[in-house]
Amino acid sequence: MTDLPSASHAQTRSRSHAFWRQAKSNRSFTAGFIITATVIAMALISFVWTPYDVIELDIASKLQGPSLSHWFGTDHFGRDILSMIMVGARNSIAVALVAVVIGIGVGVPLGCWAASRGGLMDEALMRGNDLIFAFPALLSAVIITAIFGPGAINAIIAIGIFNIPVFARLARGATLSLLPREFVLAARVAGKGGVRIIAEHILPNMANLLVVQGTIAFALGILQEAGLAYVGLGTQPPFPSWGKMLNEAQTMMSFAPHMAILPGLAIVITVLGLNLLGDGLRDVLDPRLSKGRE
């Protein structure tokens, strides 16, 4: 059986080399990459080291503004805000990332399957998508919390469900446009089955799209997680999360504004970094897509 040429190691290496050369000259990508890498590094460092313990209370030093010993100040329990932001980053990243994985893991196979089967299956999938679109993550989270009680897992499920139709649509569109291409027909002539064709020829060709959309969904997930945690539907105390910190800061706005400003800035910077990274990736990976948009 003739196997169709798939990228050899040398090809892959030269392609990734070309990617980095192009990426480095893209300002959005560079800025986004640096910001995102910093936030992820901060979250990783928090596993082994934070300036102070985030669970331990130190009432004597409560509500201090930023200083040399507490760079970002302390909260109403005397906890160090920088340490809380570091640990909170871990939480935000984990929730948003798993939600993206759910979206891709469920949405992409569904989209590919619907596109290659067509007909009734396809129609049913698209209508199912419409149905899920009628449930914003916040409403799903409300329902899930009403059933199981609050927790970080609920936030992951609610945001993940919201991500499924986004990726299903993307995968369906990409599959529909790739199916009539010659290399797919050639694979079919060579006797490959539907699943193998999707795995070996369709998926690698939509990987770029998935990376770009994944970055954007990641950014959106961080915003959604913060919102859910803020209203008490996400991560529960004593584990710190950015949204929860903003909720606690709210009643202390008049005398400790730093408690609200700094965690909010952490959210804005992280989301901004991911959005810039997504825009940059789109320019570098698929110049056709960025035409007329930027």
Partner: protein, 330 residues
């Protein structure tokens, strides 16, 4: 065209039915008996059984589903387990806060975003465009409830120009009511306006490359007139799609923003109901919001036809709608 609309209407109705089944099933698997919750732990078995009968909880699920949906259709949302008043009364009290808030935010976001998008597209590549794009890029990254907290800090606590929260009630007059909703509406609107102006700009830039725009310019129409008369209408489909999606998002967003400003809206009702395990309230309010979102999506489909007469004859509506929705998601 009538056929296409009927087709869409039927699908919207089926989506609504499917959504109601989902919501009903989800809350059906909730552990705990509302009758026991209402009567407390000291209630006798007979009292619980009597209350279950009164609430209709002893009926089989299918019968209860139809009773619930029948009630929804006739405006009877059941009786709150904790307040012992009709849910429809609770909802009516709260809707008059949440709905005006979402509409105000939608209005603000649209009147800000469309001119901003027009300016950015018209002055493409200039400092103004770059500046607008940078500001909107940051605007997209700002969580609206955090922006709300900052507004409260600056305008209410520091400058003391506006009240920090609360709602006087419409019976105090239109102005005090609107005044109380202004800050929350701005907080909701600005991050949305950032998204909408970017969409408007890119949709305009796409249409500006078309032949009829060159024709309009060639026949002597000014740049400005070309933009507002020819390009804008043709760029409206993605813009309207995003406005529709945003309204759904704003309705849900009010639930969060109400917490910042202590507004007695649907959001506060939902969270109180969750804490008190008053599931019939959660069920009805969620269903109401979902139904509104489905209705908005249907209206957005209708506006496509109104905006673009070509869609009245061909069956392209489906394709272009699907296309713009994917664009909107990204």
């Amino acid at each position: 065209m009538i056929k296409a609309l009927a087709h869409k209407l039927i699908w919207a109705a089926l989506t609504l039915v499917a959504a109601s089944i989902l919501v009903f099933l989800a809350l059906e698997i909730v552990p705990g008996d509302p009758a026991e919750v209402m009567l407390g732990i000291n209630a006798t078995d007979e009292a619980v059984a009597a209350l279950r009968k009164q609430l209709g909880l002893d009926l089989p699920p299918l019968q209860r589903y139809f009773a619930w949906v029948g009630g929804l259709l006739t405006g009877d949302l059941g009786t709150s387990y904790t307040y012992s008043v009709p849910v429809s009364e609770l909802v009516a009290e709260r809707v008059v806060v949440s709905l005006p808030l979402a509409l105000m935010a939608l209005f603000l976001s649209t009147v800000i975003a469309i001119p901003v998008g027009l300016i950015a597209a018209g002055k493409r590549g200039t400092m103004a465009d770059t500046g607008i794009m940078a500001v909107t890029q940051i605007g997209i990254a700002i969580p609206n409830f955090w922006f709300a907290l900052l507004l409260v800090y600056v305008l209410a606590i520091w400058l003391q120009w506006v009240p920090a929260g609360g709602f006087p009630g419409w019976e105090q007059g239109l102005w005090p009511g609107l005044n109380a909703l202004l800050l929350p509406a701005i907080a909701l609107a600005l991050p949305q306006a950032a998204i909408l102006s970017r969409v408007t700009r890119s949709a305009l830039l796409e249409t500006l490359g078309e032949d009829y725009i060159r024709t309009a310019r060639a026949k002597g129409l000014s740049r400005r007139a070309t933009l507002s008369r020819h390009a804008l209408r043709n760029a409206l489909i993605p813009v309207v799609t995003i406005i529709g999606l945003q309204f759904a998002y704003l309705l849900a967003g009010t639930i969060i923003i109400e917490n910042v400003f202590y507004l007695p809206g649907l959001g506060r009702l939902i969270f109180q109901a969750i804490n008190l395990r008053d599931l019939i309230v959660v069920e009805s309010v969620v269903m109401l919001l979902v139904a509104t979102i489905i209705a908005i999506n249907f209206l957005v489909d209708l506006t496509y036809v109104w905006i673009d007469p070509r869609l009245r004859t061909s069956s392209d509506a489906e394709t272009s709608a699907a296309q713009t929705q994917t664009d909107g998601a990204s």
